[in-house]
């Protein structure tokens, strides 16, 4: 039995410790916001946070997550109140939307570590996430916008 804390909720799961975290989240915990895209850490659609750091859950054995805090898109904020989600909705970033959970989770780490990212910082933080629809220009705009929203929030 493995104990996982996902979005603040503790669960005990009986699975092969080598099973990728992605499938535990999707198939055992019903958290389907985290997506399967490539299974080999190429596309970033499965990005979640492990103790605050972004990981590709499709290649992360569930054993690595045992006892750590896992945050998925469902835990970023369900009510779209996170500055990134506010910016994403304001700019209408998604098209098909399939990659966007991963994009948002990657962007969340970027903004936490760099509240005022330049375009180059965005390139450094976001290049692990593929968007087949080509929403990159809007992702860039939305990250800048989220940074501004965060700054406004602090100055208030």
């Amino acid at each position: 039995m493995l104990t996982l804390v996902v979005n603040g909720k503790r669960s005990s799961i009986d699975v092969d410790p080598d099973m990728p975290l992605l499938w535990v989240l999707r198939e055992h915990l019903g958290l389907t916001g985290t997506k399967y895209g490539c299974g080999m850490a190429q596309c970033g659609a499965c990005t979640v946070h492990l103790d605050g750091e972004a990981v590709r859950s499709c290649v992360t054995p569930v054993s690595r997550a045992a006892g750590k805090n896992v945050t998925t898109i469902e835990g970023l904020s369900a009510d779209l109140s996170h500055p990134l989600q506010r910016a994403w909705t304001e700019i209408d970033v998604p098209q098909c939307g399939y990659c966007q959970s991963g994009q948002l989770m990657a962007a969340a780490v970027l903004l936490r570590e760099n509240p005022h990212p330049s375009d180059a910082d965005i390139d450094d933080g976001m290049a692990g996430n593929i968007c087949r629809c080509g929403t990159y220009p809007r992702i860039r705009r939305a990250i800048h916008r989220a940074a501004a929203l965060m700054a406004e929030g602090k100055s208030r």
Binding site: H28, L80, P94, G97, C99, I122, G128
Partner: protein, 723 residues
């Protein structure tokens, strides 16, 4: 005008309903008939037709028969209806329709999404649906107030009688309106009075796509559901001779192994276990006729074929005579590879076959055929099959498959295993699974007279037909010409007196399919690049020569001039930079791009700027159009710079994003500007027309910057390096 005119898309759409024959369900000319589901609505709800429901609390649900794959119809179609309904937009929601003749494509005659047709083909239908609902609400209010309906107006989900100052919300009127009769005639708004249409509106699907709640078929879960993966032949056209599942079945969690016509399916309690089970299968394959085949072999075969006469797709004047009289002749060969759609959500389908019924959940672009095929596979009647359309994690044509294999596999496995099944294609299955944009080889000759006028254009096209062997073949393949193989070439608008386009459609077991922008995805690159070659050979500015030869194509001309103006065509550029231009019509929209690039001596390409002009006729949601064009530029450039599926030893070489890479955020053009032409012309599509110009605009800019002519895609660094 031509010997064997390529069938235009709209012509095809007009006639295919009849042409597709038995596959097409009864055509619903009465497009406003309620669907079966709508008829079963609660009495308090007002359901005037198949497209809208108004609840007592004022919630308005627009039901759309089209699929949302990112192109934005989940918002733009409700906007059309809400406009005529005068709905309070903040109360409008959208729902995917069940499969029902009420939702058949108004031109295709089947329920499907494709060809960049959703908005224009639904425009009048949804306006009428909204107007009928509005008229019934007005009548209900007027009857209640004892006033004339003509004296009432509507605004933001209220019926208002100004003379008495009375107002009634649509929700309050719903039950009463439901008892009313739809009017025989409704009048539609003057477009000048539009309040929603033409204004940028936030997408209705954005919130669900930002918190993980949007449901794609891969997210569907059913009680007792098993997950299946299928081992398919390593070579197209192969099949399993025998297999041993002993080891697979011994893995904890593997529940069953079943053979279906397309391969061996392993069912397990989860995806990861199913994959491990599949890895443990021992299968003896018969590789079939393509064993040993390779891209090199294909190239040689295609090149040889291009030297022979094909089926004539366009013939104007006498190209042979014109070429022999030309003072300058240019010859070139162009090549384009197979391309995978590589939707972010890999192919998958959930099927639950029961004794007397079947349910299917899938991101379908072709519901009517998918349901018929599911029924056949389940041994049921189509009416016994309920097909639920989910969000599509990308489509690009891949989810509209005439053979419906994605759904058929899932139904077959569910039936054999007697359990609900989610059948998932791994990324590798998806990448190697075929249904590619065909590879193409073009052989061209162009003739210039002494004054540098283009007097001759001869083009031989070689590539597999995507229509051959499908129900669409009788309509789309005429006199040996698949119109989609030569669209964008055979119907070129350039005024060239002697024009000849012919086509070879070799038959191969590699499955091919429409891929975002279909034939235009390859013809625009070839035509716009070779046109550029002719302009340079004639010593003419490529933009000016286009203008001259598009004199009778005003919508081409308009976007061409707009793109050139916004890009500052002709103005000085920093050293090392070059500009390239391309213009193309597809799906009845007109697009021109100007690319600005530079290339390092090591062959590293930077795309500094893409300036895009688009005329798609009257616009519904401008922000969506901008998004579609931005995305299409990146989609087109991904193909131009990276995309290539190759074959070696009969097998597809590429398997995942490491060897079939997508452009990433840091590799995109630094600036993409979209300029929409205000237009009252005929509406065209938006999802696809942004793709074709991307590759030729960049290739032409590379020539301007470096003098290197790109005639083969994808563009490789070695093609760009200084010698």
């Amino acid at each position: 005008m031509s010997a064997t005119p390529a069938v235009s898309r709209r012509e095809f759409l007009k006639t295919s309903g009849a042409g597709a024959g038995s596959l097409v369900l009864a055509l619903h000319f009465s497009t406003l008939a309620p669907s079966e589901a709508a008829l079963a609505a609660p009495a308090s709800e007002f359901v005037p037709n198949a497209f809208v429901k108004i609840a007592a609390d004022g919630a308005i649900t627009v039901i759309i028969g089209k699929s949302e794959m990112g192109q934005g119809i989940y918002t733009s179609l409700p906007m059309i209806l809400a406009e005529e309904l005068d709905a309070d937009w903040t109360r409008v929601r959208c729902e995917f329709a069940p499969v029902d003749p009420a939702y058949n494509h108004t031109v295709f005659g089947i329920q499907m999404t494709g060809g960049s047709t959703s908005v224009w083909s639904s425009f009048e239908q949804l306006r009428k649906a909204g107007a009928v609902a509005r008229a019934m609400l007005v009548q209900a209010a007027a009857d209640g107030w004892g006033v004339s309906a003509a004296a009432c107006r509507t605004e933001k989900s209220f019926v208002i009688h100004d003379a008495t100052g009375r107002r009634a919300a649509y929700g309050e009127l719903a039950a009463k309106a439901a008892a009313g009769k739809p009017p025989a005639q409704v009048s539609l708004k003057d477009p000048r009075d539009f309040r929603l249409i033409g204004k940028s509106v936030h997408r209705l699907d954005t919130p669900a796509k930002c918190n993980g709640t949007a449901t794609y078929s891969i997210d569907v879960n059913r009680p007792g559901m098993l997950v299946a993966v299928v081992a398919r032949p390593p070579v197209f056209g192969g099949k399993a001779k025998s297999f041993d599942a002993t080891a697979a079945k011994s893995i904890r969690g593997v529940k069953d192994v079943v053979e279906i016509p397309r391969g061996i399916a392993v069912l397990a309690d989860g995806y990861w276990t199913a994959c491990r089970g599949r890895d443990a299968l021992k299968i003896d394959w018969d590789e079939g006729p393509l064993a040993g085949y390779s891209t090199e072999k294909q190239r040689a075969e295609f090149a040889a074929m291009a030297k022979t006469a094909g089926a004539v797709a366009r013939k104007e004047g006498d190209v042979t005579a014109a070429l022999s009289s030309a003072s300058k002749i240019l010859e070139a060969e162009y090549e384009l590879p197979y391309l995978a759609h590589a939707t972010m959500e890999p192919m998958n389908c959930v099927a639950e076959v029961r004794a007397e019924s079947c349910e299917v959940w899938t991101g379908s672009q072709l519901q009517t055929l998918d349901r018929i095929s599911a029924a056949q596979a389940a041994g049921l009647k189509p009416e016994q099959v309920q097909l639920h359309t989910t969000f599509l994690g990308g489509g690009f044509g891949r989810r509209a498959v005439p053979d419906c294999h994605m759904v058929v596999e899932a139904v077959q496995v569910s039936k054999a295993a007697r359990a609900p099944v989610k059948l998932i294609w791994t990324r590798e299955d998806d990448m190697r699974g075929g249904y590619y944009r065909p590879s193409f080889f073009h052989s061209l000759a162009g003739g210039l007279d002494e004054a540098g006028n283009v007097i001759a254009w001869k083009q031989t096209v070689v590539g597999q037909s995507i229509m051959a062997g499908t129900p669409f073949e009788p309509m789309m393949v005429r006199n040996g010409v698949d119109g989609t193989s030569v669209e964008g070439a055979a119907d070129t608008p350039y005024l060239i007196p002697n024009l000849y386009v012919d086509l070879h459609s070799p038959k191969l077991p590699v499955p091919v399919l429409w891929w975002r922008s279909v034939g235009h995805s390859q013809t625009a690159f070839v035509v716009e690049s070779f046109f550029d070659e002719l302009a340079h050979a004639a010593g003419k500015d490529p933009y000016e020569l286009r203008r001259t030869l598009l004199a009778k194509a005003p919508r081409h001309l308009r976007v061409l001039e707009l793109a050139a103006e916004k890009a500052g065509w002709g103005s000085p550029l920093p050293a090392g930079r070059g500009r390239g231009i391309a213009v193309h019509e597809s799906f009845e929209s007109f697009v021109a791009y100007v690319a600005e690039v530079s290339v390092t001596p090591q062959g590293e390409l930077t795309i500094h700027r893409m300036v895009c002009a688009v005329d798609c006729g009257p616009v519904v949601n401008p922000d969506t159009i901008e998004a579609q064009i931005e995305g299409a530029v990146i989609f087109g450039l991904t193909a131009a710079l990276r995309g290539e599926i190759t074959l070696a030893n009969g097998r597809v070489v590429q398997s995942n994003f490491h060897d079939y890479p997508m452009l990433r955020i840091y590799e995109c053009p630094q600036q993409i500007e979209v300029h929409i032409v205000p237009s009252t012309e005929k509406q065209g599509g938006v999802g696809e027309p942004g793709v074709p110009c991307a590759a030729p605009a960049v290739a032409n800019a590379i020539f301007a910057a470096t003098g290197k002519r790109i005639r083969r895609l994808p563009i490789r660094a070695q093609d760009l390096r200084s010698a």
